[in-house]
Amino acid sequence: MDLISFSAIGTALGAIADPMILLWILIGVVVGLIFGAAPGLTATAGVAIATPLTFGASFEVAMALLLGIYCGGYFAGSIPAILINTPGAPGNAATALDGYRMARRGKADLALSLSVISSFIGGFVSILVLMLAAPRLADFALEFTSVEYFALGTFGLVCVAAVSGGSILKGMIAAALGMLLGCSGIDPVGGMTRLTFGDPNLLGGVPLMPALIAFFAVSEMLVQAARRDSLATLPAQRRVGAGEVLSHYLRNKWLTIRSAFIGTGIGILPGTGPTIAAWIAYGESARKKAPQAQEEGDPRGVIAAETANNAVTGGALIPLLTLGIPGDTVTAVLIGALLIQGIDPGPFFIAEKSDLFVQILLILLFANVCILVIGLGTRRWLPAILKLPPRILIPIVGVLCATGAFAINNTPFEVGLMAVLGLAGYVLIRFGFPMAPVVLGLVLGPMVETNLRNALTANDMDATVFLTRPIGALLLAAAAFTVFWTWRRHRRT
């Protein structure tokens, strides 16, 4: 806070209080909600498409629109995740796990409310962190070398693989399958191509979004289509009051705060993003899960995943605004938008342009308020979609999935890939394999592999480096503890 003077706050307030700027933030949030909620279109795509439109705009207008899309987009992916098991963006995949189960049991309103409020809390905490400690935290992020990234990836992998359903063995096999999928494409260390079957479409690896749509939405629709009885047994949707929602936060206040800090922290680390943040926070929440909650959907899972997911926004802006290095994919796109405004983000940005920095903070804050209002305002009628009979809902979701996969590159390959992986996912489900570890393996596998190999290369193949660096050793110890704890719990039951 010592970096920001009161005069800067005054100037920034003057610039942002303009109704036109507020309108642009609102437009940004609405556009973001659309991009976030439509599977295949992500906040990153929304910001990228909107960036050239800001070439002629002022700094405030450009940031209002783009940051609005950023925040709105990260939140909205949870809506289809909860209602139709189709994460709108990779960061909302973990939300689908408990959120969709809750919706199937008449608790869609509760799940949506929790997702809106958690997104707000996550966004808000991350703005506070950005405001109070940006430069110091950026230096902390630079402590992370390949060793620490490897340890973080391992920790994430252990967390969820251990809690994904009945059989640990099946969970591990599923995670291994996901990691195998993640090996496809150009080897990030050696440069050779692997597992592409000679198809140039796979040069860049298995793209995450079609895989997510396949493993969550397509396989689930196939499961439902195969079931005759299905929707007849769906209980009526129940509305929730403010008191009930609040009680969930009071009961889970530490989880909420922890998730907000996990999200912000992972946002700060360059090369990560909301997907990893949401999974790790979800893994944390699931450690205390009761077995029956697994079936009915646990509100704690939604709270953890969505808080962390949206907390990435403020976190990812920290390395961007203090080092010029993006914390996630959206902030990578924002660099271009800032350059056009004549701003080269770097270590001097906050000190020299503190009024612009405060403007960014205020825009983020207002964008999060917009999300809260719009989200809570629409949650009542959104669950109506669940009343659609399967013979109507399943084809609609099918079309949504196909367009979503197509929209990623505007090429048909992703649609085919989605269909193949969806079918594979269905077969795996029929044999009792959980889907979450497959996705987790696909997300974290490349991170673990690349950083393991880079760490060893950089340190002359000396594996003791994983024990001598404090942060890395701590994370690996936490991973080992989780494995031990899971093993003990399973032995007792």
Binding site: T44, P188, P200, G324, G346
Partner: protein
């Protein structure tokens, strides 16, 4: 049998028109439908911004939409492969780049070879520079070469990834100096810079515009630019040549069309691209992104591509990426 003139004349005219419309070569009419520009990198970055501005100006000149399609992945290889699936008719253009076009086809079979594309014009260059962390003992390129000589394999450096132009050229440099260094890929330019800031590697060798802010803010020290002359945003940083090393590297970007495009379409496109690429508004945009304006016409661009391929083939063999 003789047709009455009243019928024969309109018939003849109709036949004439029909014949004309069939014979009218697609060339004269090009373009008669929207043109797609494949950008093999993510939407929203500097290169994408450039492509979109060029597309907008081409649309004004040729009166059809020029649509940018981003297909990122494999350091540009995925989008290049996609562009190669198109017909050679000038309706699919490629924003080609150094590594994807001239190195990737040598390493593996990415679904295209360099000669699948006909160059229209080189547009911009990004000069590559060498930077170290602010507290690094290395003050000049000479220091690094000396350290690498003293301890072979002891110096580590980062580039966007294995097989990238930056990586290949740093290996060319190392070979010329008789030194051996360890390479670590950063999964992109910013990732490579992060590895330098965290102390994981000794230096980073990526596009100089990537770290203007960090250098000004005192986190990184730029110690050599591998360009013919100094760059305007680092006026105090000497080139490699000034430090006694004959070494220049640039990542270039340019427009290409699929081979088989009719010659008339190629020459029409070349003329229009030249016009829009060299006008003042385009230059102003390049400057904002810290790109070097580096227009080369079709032939000049082709020569450069050929020279790059020949050079890359030798080095890739040396570092074991091709057998």
């Amino acid at each position: 049998m003789k047709l009455p003139l009243s019928i024969a004349r309109p018939l003849a005219v109709a036949a004439g028109i029909a014949a004309l419309s069939f014979a009218a070569p697609a060339v004269a009419e090009y373009p008669e439908k929207p043109v797609r520009i494949v950008v093999p990198f993510g939407a929203g970055d500097s290169l994408d911004g450039t492509a979109r501005v060029i597309a907008e100006q081409l649309k004004k000149e040729l009166k059809v939409p020029f649509v940018v399609q981003n297909i990122p992945g494999a350091g540009g290889g995925k989008g290049t492969a996609e562009a190669n699936k198109a017909k050679g008719d000038g309706y699919t253009l490629l924003m080609g780049s150094t590594g994807a076009l001239t190195a990737r086809p040598l390493i593996s079979k990415p679904g295209y070879v360099t000669s699948d594309f006909v160059p229209l014009a080189q547009l911009v260059e990004v000069p590559i520079g060498l930077a170290v962390k602010a507290d690094s003992p290395f003050k000049s390129v000479k220091d690094i070469v000396a350290a690498a000589k003293a301890k072979p394999g002891g110096i580590k450096y980062a580039t966007p990834g294995p097989g990238a132009t930056q990586h290949i050229n740093m290996e060319i440099f190392a070979k010329a100096q008789g030194i051996k260094m360890k390479h670590i890929g950063g999964r992109g330019g910013k990732g490579a810079i992060t590895k330098t800031l965290s102390g994981e590697v000794d230096f980073v060798f990526v596009g100089a515009p990537n770290y203007t802010g960090l250098a000004k803010g005192g986190k990184l020290r730029v110690i050599g630019i591998a360009a013919g002359k100094r760059v305007p945003y680092f006026p105090d940083v000497p080139t490699f040549k000034e430090q006694g090393y004959d070494f220049t590297v640039a990542v270039w970007f340019g427009l290409l069309t699929r081979k088989g495009t009719p010659a008339a379409v190629v020459s029409k496109l070349r003329a229009v691209v030249k016009k829009v690429a060299t006008q003042a508004s385009t230059s102003a945009l390049y400057k904002k992104f810290n790109f070097n304006e580096a227009f080369l016409d079709g032939e000049g661009f082709q020569k450069r591509i050929d020279a790059n391929v020949a050079k890359h083939r030798v080095v890739l063999k040396d570092i074991g990426l091709i057998k």
